[in-house]
Amino acid sequence: MVVPTDTIWQWLSEVPDPEIPVLSLTDLGVIRGVTWDDETLVVTVTPTYTGCPATAIINLDIEKKLRSCGIEDLRLEQQLSPAWTTDWLTDEGREKLRGYGIAPPVQTTRDTATDSNRVTRLLSGRDPVVPCPQCASRNTTKVSQFGSTPCKSAYRCQDCLEPFDYFKCH
């Protein structure tokens, strides 16, 4: 059964990310390709972080979803390059994150890449301003570089005092 790839993309947009279920896999930008190789559907997936424990679950969820939609001949391929960055998050995905209480990345990786001398930047003590996803205050501080998952860091709002996760720019 050869289904139009548009329909496959639609199905994949209904698969939630296992760690941040408010995002779909297409919001996250990890699906790199959907093609038919003869009678076999080939879905190309890129990992977010090399050690992200969700990667295996993502593959499993894709397979489960597509099989439940009647796809029998299926192959998943991993593609490393170009490397996934938070720039691949869709605008819709960013809004969903904010609504869920996670601050989306405030920079693009191109902004951070131009800071070629990392030590100088570090010594300047300038972290980007991350607005609070609850009250939108810009008066926030970083608590820790890593939060509840490898893709997030921990912040605290100095105005509403709520702690929150920041989807780090990576």
Binding site: P47, T50, G51, A83, T109, S144
Partner: protein, 258 residues
């Protein structure tokens, strides 16, 4: 790829890939030993996440190594079914965690090495090496930021934290030289444009490390002595103990899956 097109013999490439994969695997395992033992919850989470990144990078290198070797060994067989003398990691990766400060100092040295090495590997003529490097470099940069920040805070902190960081620096310094001593494998990799000579990475590494140590008010030892042997399989006594823990499950229950 036809045999005539190969710029680097499989055995050489395999050995070099093991050096990359084993270093991040072993230090990743070391860092994971902190899980549940860190001084504060945020650091516990951070260390566990860094360990995950490092082990993730090890999977990419070791998978490639297994394909190059062509004997049917994958990432799991290479990680869990080799003995200490077959490991090619830098000696610094296997050094014990010590206190929190010593773990951070070890991580700073390794992160700075990763940043300088992976930056160079991003333009490797071997496309697979280049894509693994680009993927891993983003993580290494982020790790370096954290290590540098904490080394500065603790070095330039209380008398107690300063003393511990200086002790850690003195203890570990002689394990840093090995990062910049190349051998025949490195020469072949460099002449093919696959990887930089280790000696070429030293300036960038020193730039990063010296700036951090100055800011942290820590004094780098004068000694240029370097412990070597890790990249050719001669290890300190610590590696066997790591493997006993890390490989237990696959040794006791061969082929087990869940």
């Amino acid at each position: 790829m036809s045999a005539a097109k190969k710029l680097v013999a499989d055995e050489v490439l395999f050995d070099w890939l093991l050096r990359r994969g084993d270093t991040v695997l072993v230090v990743g395992h070391r860092v994971s030993e902190w899980c549940g033992h860190s001084p504060v919850l945020e650091e516990d989470i951070a260390l566990a996440n860094i360990a995950l990144d490092l082990i993730g990078q090890a999977r990419l290198w070791l998978s490639y190594a297994g394909e190059v070797e062509g004997k049917g060994r994958g990432e799991n067989e290479l990680a869990y079914l080799r003995d200490a003398w077959d490991f090619r990691n830098l000696l610094i990766a296997e050094q014990p965690n010590g206190d929190f400060g010593k773990t951070l100092m070890r991580q700073l040295f390794i992160d700075a090495h990763q940043v300088s090495l992976l930056s160079a590997l991003a333009s490797s003529k071997d496309p697979r090496i280049a894509e693994i490097a680009v993927k891993s470099l983003k993580e290494a940069n982020y790790h370096f930021d954290r290590s540098a920040d904490l080394v500065i805070r603790l070095g330039d902190g209380t008398p107690e934290s300063h003393k511990r960081m200086q002790d850690a620096l003195d203890d570990l310094w002689s394990f840093t030289g090995e990062m910049f001593i190349g051998d025949a494998v490195d020469k072949v990799m460099a002449s093919a444009g696959y990887a930089p000579l280790p000696e070429k990475l030293k300036a960038a590494w020193q730039d990063m490390v010296h700036t951090v140590m100055d800011e942290a008010t820590l004094i780098i030892p004068d000694s240029g002595f370097a412990h070597t042997g890790g990249t050719t399989g001669r290890h300190s006594e610590h590696l066997g103990h790591i493997l006993a823990d890390m490989q237990f499950l696959q040794r006791a229950y061969p082929g087990v899956t869940w």
